[in-house]
Amino acid sequence: MSEELSAWQLIASGDATLFAIVRLSLAVTLSAVAIAAVIGLPLGALLALARFPGRSAVVVVLNGFMGLPPVIVGLSVYLLLSRSGPLGEFGLLFTPAAMVIAQAVLVLPIIAALTRQTIEDLWHEYREELTAMDVGPLGQVATLLWDSRFSLFTALLAGFGRAAAEVGTVMIVGGNINGFTRTMTTTVALETSKGNLPLAVGLGLILIFLIILINAAAWGVRLWSEQRAG
């Protein structure tokens, strides 16, 4: 029997282990993206509007951090959360919470940098009108975030894609503990090296399917709302 066939059977049979893994992966990634969005959207907007010495350097570093190697993020968060680390007392290492933190750190620069670019472009367009309408700084940020919501949605998707697909950080800080911190990507890595290809292939298929599904939904939402708001 080919591996693909048994992978499909695994999915079709509604294997409990498999779906627990899928659930955990989604929960971790969505939480991480949500946290990164709450911090990254205002931060990016602020950086787009603020003018201070060294701003260019901050922008360059932030853009550079979009390509942070996941293992380096994993290692850094590992050091922070390990028993002897500064946050060791919370005992978060090898828990889903640690994975959320690590993935949030990973996608925060992506969301913040893309937000900065989007908001800055829109600001160039809106500046005179908003100034003429006497809009204060907070109002400006709110207006710019709202009016670029569709582009920012894409930024969130980019963050989601990055977090959902990566394996290095969650492997390091989560530990790939069976039934507790095992995600789709770490399972694929593990099962492949063990030679259990049906499960690896099955999870791979589900992962790709989910990412396409979420992007398709986002595309639909974007199309629909653009027609309404221009």
């Binding site: 003429a132 809009v135 109002g139 009016d147 670029s148």
Partner: protein, 241 residues
């Protein structure tokens, strides 16, 4: 919306210059704008019409000299509105654009919807109220921007060639809205290079050439007795450089 007791008029530009790097947009220009019929600002391209309007709005600070509104140089833009030559539509519906301007102008939330509908009707866009503003045609966007400017219930309304890209019918429509605003007590200051339009609308005419005030006269006098050779040439339709 209640008007504050103090007034933005007269608007006084006192020996104002505006330059960016080596480029001088306005050069030692003095001008007093008083209540009354519309003031039309004319002159060739690059003569400083837009710069003058931006100074009047308070969007730019003069490099030299001073701009004062009702005797004060520190007055915010609360009682002024400007219509840019290429207005930028917010990425929202036509109504939402007007509602936004109303909100910024301090209109109470519960009155905004009704007031926005009123303004849209005034500019002939009620039928397109729910359309995305950025999908409107150029002329429609211009009228929506005018509604947005009027939403501020301005004492001074600054208009930068609002009909430059419009056909005669649309131009007439916009001119009627502007005249209506002027008749209800708004001071209109409008840049134009359409002499027919200047004749139709102007109470007084400000003629700029290369950032300098070349003439400032009542409309009739400007056309009948041009005070400078350049003004005379401009009125004849000759090229003024």
């Amino acid at each position: 919306m209640m008007r504050a007791a103090s007034s933005d008029l007269p608007l006084v530009l006192d020996r104002v210059s505006l330059s960016a790097g080596p480029v001088t947009m306005l050069d030692c220009l003095s001008l007093t704008i008083t209540p009354g019929a519309p003031t039309l600002v004319v002159g060739p391209n690059g003569s400083g019409k837009t710069s003058l309007l931006r100074l009047c709005m308070g969007l730019a600070a003069p490099s030299a000299g001073s701009v004062s509104w009702g005797g004060r140089t520190d007055r915010g833009p609360a009682r002024r509105a400007i219509l840019f030559q290429k207005p930028v539509m917010l990425r929202r519906s036509a109504t939402a654009n007007v509602v936004y301007a109303l909100g910024q102008a301090g209109c109470p939330r519960r009155l905004r919807a009704a007031r926005a509908a009123e303004l849209l009707e005034r500019v002939g866009l009620l039928g397109l109220a729910n359309h995305p503003a950025r999908r409107l045609s150029g002329g429609e966007q211009q009228r929506l921007a005018l509604a947005r400017a009027l939403a501020r219930d301005p004492e001074i309304l600054l208009l930068d060639e609002p009909t430059a890209s419009l056909d005669p019918a649309a131009t007439r429509f916009v001119e009627e809205i502007i005249l209506m605003a002027a008749q209800s007590g708004t001071k209109v200051v409008m840049a134009s290079h359409d002499l027919g339009q200047v004749r139709r609308l102007a109470g007084d005419v400000v003629f700029l050439v290369r950032g300098r005030l070349c003439a400032h006269a009542a409309s009739g006098d400007f056309f009948e007795y041009p005070s400078t050779p350049k003004a005379a040439a401009f009125i004849r339709g000759d090229l003024v450089l």
